[in-house]
């Protein structure tokens, strides 16, 4: 005893003040699913405060975009929320169309709705399946990743790529849905709901899961609004803000769907809201697919929509247009537009300032992840360390979108 006192000093045992342990969670901890660092002050197992550090994969997208023509910005948007890249791509294309005042045919709108809702399903599936993994239920994850794979196969039919899709064009799509896509989509719509309900029954009313997630990482509606939350995280707190309903784009006003809301904004509510949104997305896809209008798969804007590849190789006119578009010999309007779409994580906004040059003068992405992740310390304060992990997982913080 005597010896111990001499090691720590006289005051150590007398002091009334609490000493907290500092714990580095991340940046490469496997439980954080990405590059996130949090310096936690711990009182035993309880988190007293958290200090997030972000920017580990910052890639200067906003600066890069200032040197790229509009169609070259699309691959940048892929890398924001890479779990639902098509929504980012199409959102960007719609922003440019707003600037150019291009009207897209109904058919393009419906095709976009199908692709965007598939992307939303894929994103929510990843989030909820991984939440299962973090709470110790690996089974659902393995099954739902097979379903996500089928969605990726469909992207491949449309755009040729799977993860970073670069889907579509300014003005529509490169080609109409292929027979392969139709087959895969019909198959998906027929078989996915049953498999999804199976996954749902594994977790939703599972006592172990419920005990694990209810009242974990809650946030009130008032705080969530003050923090500019968006998407499922805001709706889980009880605010029915959905860009698809508030400011319909791409003919969303044609579809009838429910905006699910939660009450307490905890991890369980976030999980439930995403589950219900998957069902609603399926409903939208069904409605869009069954009522697909006739028409072109591109808008009438030859100055911006790249001509068909076959024509470029065989016709002089198409070759000239192709060259003009790629080299930026086309006049662009000056002006500033803000366009937002309901990304898988909430309001994904594009603030584009064009000075008439070939590239954006300034492009700012409103990245929902970046904005709501700042509430994370407040949400996990007073919670257990293991709760911090599932709170982050249920918020669906995507490093690409966070760090731009």
């Amino acid at each position: 005893m005597q010896e111990q006192q001499s090691i720590f000093g006289e005051d150590f045992l007398k002091t009334e003040e609490k000493q907290y342990n500092t714990l580095n969670l991340g940046p490469t901890h496997p439980a954080t699913h990405g590059v996130f660092q949090n310096v936690l002050q711990m009182d035993g197992e309880i988190i007293m405060s958290a200090e997030p550090t972000i920017g580990y994969i910052h890639r200067a997208f906003e600066k890069l975009a200032e040197r790229r023509p509009f169609y070259q910005v699309t691959p940048i948007t892929d890398r924001l929320n890479y779990c639902s890249a098509p929504i980012n791509n199409i959102g960007w294309h719609m922003t440019v169309e707003k600037l150019l005042q291009v009207q897209t045919p109904k058919k393009v709108d419906y095709m976009r709705v199908i692709i965007m809702e598939l992307a939303r399903i894929a994103d929510h599936l990843v989030c909820n399946a991984v939440l299962g993994v973090d709470t110790g239920a690996l089974t659902g994850f393995t099954y739902m990743f097979q379903e996500r794979e089928r969605i990726y196969d469909m992207y491949e039919e449309v755009a040729g790529a799977r993860l970073t899709t670069n889907i579509g064009r300014i003005g529509g799509f490169e080609r109409d849905f292929t027979p392969g896509f139709h087959k895969k989509l019909k198959d998906f719509l027929a078989t996915f709901p049953a498999r999804f309900e199976e996954f749902d029954s594994m977790l939703t009313r599972n006592r172990i899961f419920m005990d694990r997630v209810i009242n974990v990482g809650p946030i009130s509606a008032e705080r969530a609004l003050s923090y500019s939350f968006a998407g499922p995280n805001l709706r889980a707190a009880g605010v029915d803000y959905d860009v698809r309903v508030m400011n319909p784009y791409s003919s969303y006003q044609d579809f009838d769907f429910i905006v699910p809301v939660g009450t307490s904004g905890d991890t369980y509510d976030r999980f439930m809201v995403r589950q219900e949104e998957i069902r609603q997305s399926l409903k939208i896809i069904n409605a869009a697919y069954n009522n697909m209008p006739e028409g072109n798969h591109f808008a009438d804007c030859p100055e911006f929509y790249l001509p068909k590849k076959e024509d470029v190789y065989t016709s002089m006119e198409a070759l000239i247009w192709h060259f003009k578009i790629v080299m930026g010999e086309v006049d662009l309007p000056a002006g500033e537009v803000y366009h937002s779409v309901e990304g898988a994580n909430g309001e994904l906004g594009y603030y584009l300032i064009s000075d008439g040059g070939r590239t954006p003068y300034r492009l700012h992405f409103r990245r929902p992840c970046f904005i709501y992740y700042q509430a994370y310390p407040e949400m996990i304060k007073g919670q257990m360390l293991s709760d911090a992990v599932i709170t982050m997982s249920s918020m669906n913080v995507i490093a690409g979108e966070l760090d731009a």
Partner: protein, 165 residues
């Protein structure tokens, strides 16, 4: 009372006759330019009395050719009940880009202002924790300012004229 471009502008003009400098419509979106020194009063009024409880976005833009007002801080505000959005701008001199923080109005402004500081050097007075957020801490420049080109300026094989700027 339903909010429209006219009613918002009228309310702002009657309440702050001197702070509202300029307004315009672009793509059916109202832009209001305000006096940077009075930004907090205007933003508070907008939140508390006109119901703009949701700060959609906060960012900046650099226009080096506008002498004395090079850096613009842009707020996108949303009234969720009326579903009305508009844009508020405050232009600051590049030599002294200082403006009061909006963190006391919306909690979410915290990181958005840190990001704006990180990229444009705008100092938000009263901000609780104004540090760099995405770039490394020891960075010396504010990279989104236009004087910092993306490409290496010493290269001769790339001519900017062929790339639009």
């Amino acid at each position: 009372m339903a909010l429209t471009h006219d009613t918002v502008l009228e309310q702002l003009r009657s309440r702050f006759p001197e702070a509202i400098l300029h307004s315009e419509l672009s793509f059916d979106f109202l832009n209001v330019e305000i006096q940077p020194a009075q930004n907090l009063e205007v933003l508070r009024f907008l939140r508390d009395e006109l119901g703009f409880i949701y700060l959609t976005d906060l960012c900046a833009v650099h226009m080096p050719e506008q002498s004395g007002r090079e850096i613009g801080v842009v707020y996108h505000l949303h009234n969720l009940e009326e579903n009305y959005r508009f844009r508020v701008k405050a232009w600051l001199p590049e030599a002294e880009p200082v403006i009061a923080t909006a963190t006391t109005v919306w909690a979410g402004a915290n990181w958005m202002e840190r990001e704006t500081y990180d990229f444009f050097g705008v100092r938000f007075e009263g901000h609780p924790d104004l540090r760099r957020i995405l770039n490394v801490d020891h960075m010396e420049v504010f990279p989104l300012l236009k004087q910092f080109p993306l490409e290496d300026t010493t290269r001769e094989d790339k001519d900017d004229r062929f790339f639009g700027r």
